[in-house]
């Protein structure tokens, strides 16, 4: 009963957060310079036509009015249609005059759902790689804070956190894909194209995970039940895996919740470099083309993912260790 109430409260809070996010992005897009209508009708169209179409689209109404209209649409499950991408075509470019175009535009939800699996695949693989690297380093650093492995972990974290993802991406593409021909990485044909981008992302996230693991292992290994475990005659390794791992997973889960937006931010850059057809690449083009409905849709989906994941993390945390309810 208590848990259910807590859950409902969190969900409501989450909805408020997503609403604020959407409103922030919605207003920012309309305040900063860059008229989407100019991009829709093309460079040759006269200014009065731009004005006319903008009014027809409701883009000259006050922002709260526009936002209300948008929300009432979203409530019905409709994220709107892209300004720039026709249903079955590519975006217009150059000085084209498309005002009289009667082509149906792609639905934002379709565009996002189409790209999301690619991004999840990339992010998932990246997470897997960084966990594989981080666990041994983090655990050994955590158990012996003054030991050699601890120094190694510290150095690797400092170096990884200092490498800009786009630069690493370019350098890896040059050496691994072009010079050595080991792994393909530009565009997407099959799963192999995910590996290199995932490595770049993993390098970006590793330092945070190493740190979290080592800190929580250092803390937990001090705690009483490890000592009591020794008293009971269990081996050291047995204790680590039985108790510590389970308890260390709590800060780790929390970290994943917080780091999700960093991970998604990295995805944008990495996808752009590797021409990987995921959500990140879609975002960049959407922003450059001032495709308002698409940017709003993406922001709303990312924010909902973040909020949802954090609620899930809290619930899991609670089920692992009910003492940590907060």
């Amino acid at each position: 009963m208590h848990l259910a109430g807590q859950f409902v409260r969190r969900i409501l809070q989450g909805v408020v957060v997503v609403l604020i996010t959407t409103f922030l992005i919605f207003s920012i897009l309309r305040i900063v310079p860059g008229d989407p209508v100019r991009l829709i009708v093309g460079g040759m169209a006269p200014d009065n036509l731009v004005e006319e179409i903008a009014q027809k689209m409701g883009l000259r109404d006050p922002i709260p009015v526009q936002f209300g209209r948008y929300l009432s649409q979203v409530v019905q499950g409709d994220l709107g249609n892209s300004y720039q991408r026709p249903k079955n075509g590519m975006m217009g470019q150059g000085g084209d005059f498309n005002a009289n175009m009667d082509v149906e535009m792609a639905e934002v939800s379709d565009l996002i759902l189409e790209r999301l699996p690619y991004t999840l695949q990339l992010a998932g693989l990246a997470l897997l790689i960084s966990l594989i690297i981080s666990f041994p380093l983090g655990i050994s650093a955590g158990l012996k804070p003054k030991g050699f492995m601890s120094k190694i972990a510290f150095f690797i974290s400092s170096i990884f956190v200092s490498i800009p993802n786009f630069w690493l991406g370019i350098v890896l593409a040059l050496f691994i894909t072009i010079k050595l021909g080991l792994l393909p990485s530009i565009g997407y044909q099959n799963f192999a194209y995910t590996i290199l981008p995932a490595i770049v992302l993993a390098v970006e996230t590793c330092p945070f995970i190493i740190r979290t693991i080592s800190v929580s292992f250092a803390e937990i290994s001090q705690e009483y039940f490890i000592k009591s475990g020794k008293v009971r005659g269990l081996t050291r390794n047995g204790v680590i895996y039985r108790h510590t791992l389970r308890n260390a997973s709590i800060p780790l889960l929390n970290l994943l919740g917080i780091q999700l937006s960093t991970l998604l931010g990295g995805v944008i850059v990495v996808e752009y470099i590797f021409d990987y057809p995921g959500l990140g690449q879609l975002t960049i083009y959407a922003v450059l083309q001032r495709d308002f409905p698409l940017i709003q849709g993406i922001a709303m989906v990312t924010s909902a993912l973040y909020v949802g994941l954090n609620i899930a993390v809290d619930l899991i945390t609670y089920s692992i260790d009910p003492r940590l309810e907060s």
């Binding site: 510290f154 974290s157 200092s162 800009p164 786009f166 931010g265 001032r290």
Partner: protein
């Protein structure tokens, strides 16, 4: 726990200073800064000077190099060393300025939020939640978008995208300080919230956070490079790491050094900064406790 802020800062710094690597990093970092700010001014070679005839010169000791350009030249025959140094200069300015602003703004908002546990607090915390839920890159490119950004707007955008974390940390610290003896005492003596926040609480809360923010300077420098790479950074002809690397991308196969040199410069600077930051953070944790 009644602590003078100056002694606390000194303690943290002194603890870090015991570490030889920290000493070395600080000295090295100061050296890099001096080099970046002074050398381009006194050198005969100017960063923006083009010489089409000597484009694509490799760094020294590679076939066809020239002693005049020890790191080689770029696609327009400009000296890579100078461009890297000027790029570093902008990178440092942007990193320090944006972190300074986000630190001040974030802490101020956080402390006010912590002291006014009412609807102000709720609103501010929901806004930070919302902002943390959007990747910084989306936020930044939405704002910078198609407009041509300048130095000030980039610093503001970076600061804007980083303040929520500071607000949260300082809020949680303010919540602790609020109930402490000295605050109550000051209140009894008739000090208002404004006085208490500015003269009592900020001097206690800010220093430990400031030490940790060194790590954020490095993050902001990377972030600035990312924006430059996406074409949303400081505009040419001003060289920044991001735009040098972005432009040099297509020459990677033929002239690898143009994209690689600024990358190495950036990585070395950031590693130094991160060492400094991490060591300070460790010392702070030792003295002040975890959780910031």
């Amino acid at each position: 726990m009644k602590l003078e802020d100056s002694s606390l800062s000194k303690k943290i710094f002194y603890d870090s200073w015991q570490n030889n690597f920290f000493k070395f990093s600080v000295i090295f970092f100061l050296f890099i800064c001096l080099f970046a700010f002074i050398y381009p001014e006194i050198s005969a070679i100017k960063a923006e000077k083009m010489n089409i005839k000597s484009k694509f010169l490799p760094p020294i000791f590679f076939e066809g190099f020239s002693w005049t350009h020890i790191l080689g030249t770029d696609q327009l025959g400009r000296d890579m060393l100078m461009r890297c140094l000027v790029g570093l200069r902008f990178s440092l300015i942007i990193g320090f300025a944006s972190v300074f602003i986000m630190l001040l703004f974030g802490c101020l908002v956080g402390i006010i939020s912590g002291f006014k546990s009412s609807w102000v607090d709720v609103i501010i915390m929901r806004i930070t939640d919302a902002q943390l839920s959007i990747p910084m890159v989306i936020l930044a490119i939405s704002i910078l978008g198609v407009s041509r950004p300048n130095l000030a707007s980039i610093i503001l955008v970076l600061a804007l995208s980083g303040w929520p974390l500071y607000a949260r940390v300082s809020r949680s610290m303010a919540l602790i300080e609020r109930d402490k003896e000295y605050v109550r005492g000051a209140r009894i003596l008739g000090a208002n919230d404004f006085r208490i926040i500015f003269f009592l609480v900020i001097p206690i809360i800010l220093p430990p956070i400031a030490f940790v923010s060194v790590l954020d300077i490095a993050r902001m420098m990377i972030f600035e490079a990312i924006l430059g790479f996406l074409g949303l950074g400081v505009q040419p002809p001003t060289p920044t790491f991001g735009n040098i690397i972005a432009d040099a991308r297509k020459y990677l196969i033929n002239a690898w050094w143009i994209a690689t040199m600024p990358g190495i410069f950036l990585v070395i600077t950031l590693v130094t900064l991160n060492f400094i930051g991490s060591t300070l953070e460790k010392s702070k944790n030792k003295i002040f406790g975890e959780g910031i």
